[in-house]
């Protein structure tokens, strides 16, 4: 039960960080619990990866002073594992005590490395990819963007989310977007609820995928990752989800150079679309699009079972 937003510039970079912040701030009332971004920069050397991790949860931080040592230990362990897999840390930045951004150079199996890092229960990789920067934390868009220095981020496209917790907890691991672990550069935001979640989740777990939270939206990320890994195109995966996933949902998927949306058969979750030659913007409410495009524009609602994919 949330607000979602997405933006994609065709063939040029722009200040997507600032644009997403303005859009998500306008959607604050739809989800006061947490805010998240997945924004995509230019991406340089294919062997360079940006990895964002968090090593403590909201409830850990309530436990007292012991948590500082715990956090330090977990970070040390991450550094050890990176070294073990031959990844070279180009830069390491602690944005918050528990949230870090690494720039790595790695020529090997990133999936194996990611799995190894997540063996430590408290550590979660929020995202890894050439261009993807995934940021999520408790609070509204301006808090999160301010803390993570996102307002000046330049890139081609991005998706974002403001969350109102339904049946799972208010914490970072249940915040959106979800990265499609361990596949580079895929992220998902979702508004709605999935009512065959546990059936689908057990199916995905049997196929070897991991889940970090009990949030139904994580399933969409895993599901998309599973399909893409098996050679399906993003568009086909979105189409297939409409018949396989029960409930009501509108969700956005971003990959390194694409942005896709899908709306379920009940069309119960809102999305407003604005399309022009060089910019496509979408959000749960028009007010978010208006936050970045004050001039008179034409917008419309996608219909039920509609699937769209845009190329950056």
């Amino acid at each position: 039960m949330c607000g979602i937003a997405g933006i994609i510039h065709r063939g040029k970079s722009s200040n997507v960080g600032g644009e997403m912040t303005a859009m998500l701030q306008a959607l604050k009332h739809r989800g006061p619990d947490s805010t998240g971004y997945a924004v995509y920069g230019e991406g340089g050397d294919p062997k360079d990866y940006i990895m964002r991790i968090k090593v403590a949860e909201a409830e850990d931080r309530k436990t007292g002073h012991g948590v500082h040592k715990l956090i330090a230990d977990r970070i040390a362990r991450v550094d050890e594992i990176l070294a073990e897999h031959g990844a070279k840390v180009k830069s390491k930045e602690a944005i918050r005590e528990y949230a870090l951004r690494y720039v790595l150079s790695h020529d090997g199996d990133t999936a194996a490395m990611a799995t190894h890092i997540e063996e430590d229960k408290g550590t979660e990789i929020l995202s890894m990819g050439n261009g993807l920067e995934l940021i999520k934390d408790l609070g509204d868009a301006s808090d999160v963007a301010g803390a993570y220095g996102l307002n000046d981020f330049t890139g081609t496209h991005g998706i974002g989310h403001t969350r109102m917790a339904t049946e799972s907890d208010v914490d970072i691991k249940s915040a959106h977007p979800y990265w499609a672990f361990p596949y580079n550069d895929i992220s998902v935001v979702h508004n709605g609820q999935i009512t065959n979640y546990w059936i689908m989740r057990r199916e995905m777990e049997r196929k070897g995928h991991r889940f970090q939270s009990n949030c139904d939206s994580e399933l969409l990320a895993v599901y998309t990752a599973h399909n893409l890994k098996n050679g399906m195109s993003l568009e086909d995966s979105l189409k297939k989800s409409i018949s396989e996933i029960d409930g009501v949902f509108t969700y956005l998927v971003a990959t390194k150079d694409q942005l896709g949306m899908a709306k379920d058969t009940m069309a119960a979750k809102p999305l407003v679309l604005y399309e022009s030659d060089d910019l496509i913007a979408m959000a749960s409410e028009e007010v978010a699009i208006r936050a970045i495009l004050p001039q008179e524009i034409d917008t419309y609602d996608p219909y039920d079972e509609e699937v769209r994919v845009w190329q950056a």
Binding site: M266, A267, P270, E286, P294, T299, D301
Partner: protein
């Protein structure tokens, strides 16, 4: 009442059943009529303020830096001062603009509104030179709303009266639970339009999505374009001359007359099978599986 048995009732037609159950001779019982009202209690039953406005008195509000509450309070104040024509500039997708106006007024919104635009109104004439979000004109009692661009889902939900016009396309569930009035759509409409419609008329000049008129109790839907599929208990009916006359008049009134005229419209009405689900034959009960 005891004189009518269940078996007898089942044999009767709808009309006969209603009469046999005493529903046509509605009256209050003797005892009730003797109650005297407490004169002071009448205070609880005063209808709201209805300002006398002059349509020629016109003013503008720049809503850019105002909250919805401030805008609505300002509209009320201006109506109290007798302004009959109010223009809202820069609405920028704000929600709940102009809701709950229960008096005549010309309201012009220069731009797009968010959710619940001008819902719960009784009387005003509204023109929106932009787009509206979900549930525009929700529960409108009377008046007109004309939207120049597209509209979101649940357009005219539970509409009870008046004319609700969108020149562009609208989202899904248009006219859901509609109880009267008229909805006119220049473009297309999405799935489940006219869902559980009770009364009133809905005209869609473009195409309609799937499950059109699902579970409708009554009312009429006219569609100019393609219909993806009809919902449960919605059936096609013959377009009569009277329908054509009415369509011509309404569409001309709002400048939505298609080039092809009105002869190609499809008319959808309730099949009325679900009216008394309990009395369906066993095979018919699968209707709503």
């Amino acid at each position: 009442m005891a004189s009518v048995s269940d078996a007898d009732l089942k044999k009767m037609s709808q009309e006969e059943r209603v009469t046999a159950l005493g529903m046509r001779t509605e009256q209050l019982t003797g005892k009730t009529l003797y109650i005297e009202f407490d004169p002071e209690a009448e205070e609880r039953f005063t209808y709201p303020w209805a300002p006398d406005v002059d349509f020629n008195k016109r003013t503008e509000i720049d809503t850019d830096d105002m909250t919805t509450t401030e805008v609505n309070a300002k509209i009320r104040d201006l109506m109290g001062e007798g302004y009959g024509t109010i223009v809202l500039k820069n609405p920028r997708g704000k929600h709940s603009l102009g809701v709950g106006i229960l008096s005549r007024l010309n309201l012009i919104i220069e731009g797009s509104c968010g959710y619940f635009g001008v819902g719960l109104i009784d009387g005003p004439n509204v023109r929106i030179n932009g787009r509206v979000g979900w549930s525009c004109g929700e529960n409108m009692m009377s008046g007109t709303i004309v939207i120049e661009k597209n509209a979101g889902s649940t357009f005219g939900a539970a509409l009870r009266g008046g004319d609700l016009v969108c020149r562009g396309s609208v989202g899904s569930r248009t006219g859901i639970d509609m109880k009267g009035g008229t909805i006119l759509v220049g473009g297309d409409t999405g799935a489940l339009s006219g869902f559980m419609m009770q009364r009133g008329r809905m005209v869609v000049c473009g195409n309609a999505g799937k499950n059109l008129g699902d579970s409708m109790y009554d009312g009429t839907i006219y569609v100019g374009g393609e219909i993806k599929s009809l919902g449960v208990d919605a059936v096609e009916a013959e377009l009569t001359d009277l329908d054509k006359k009415w369509l011509t008049r309404k569409l001309t009134q709002y400048g939505l007359m298609p080039q092809k005229g009105v002869d190609h419209f499809t008319k959808i009405v309730a099949g009325k099978q679900l009216w008394n689900y309990d009395n369906l034959e066993p095979t018919e009960k699968k209707l709503i599986l």
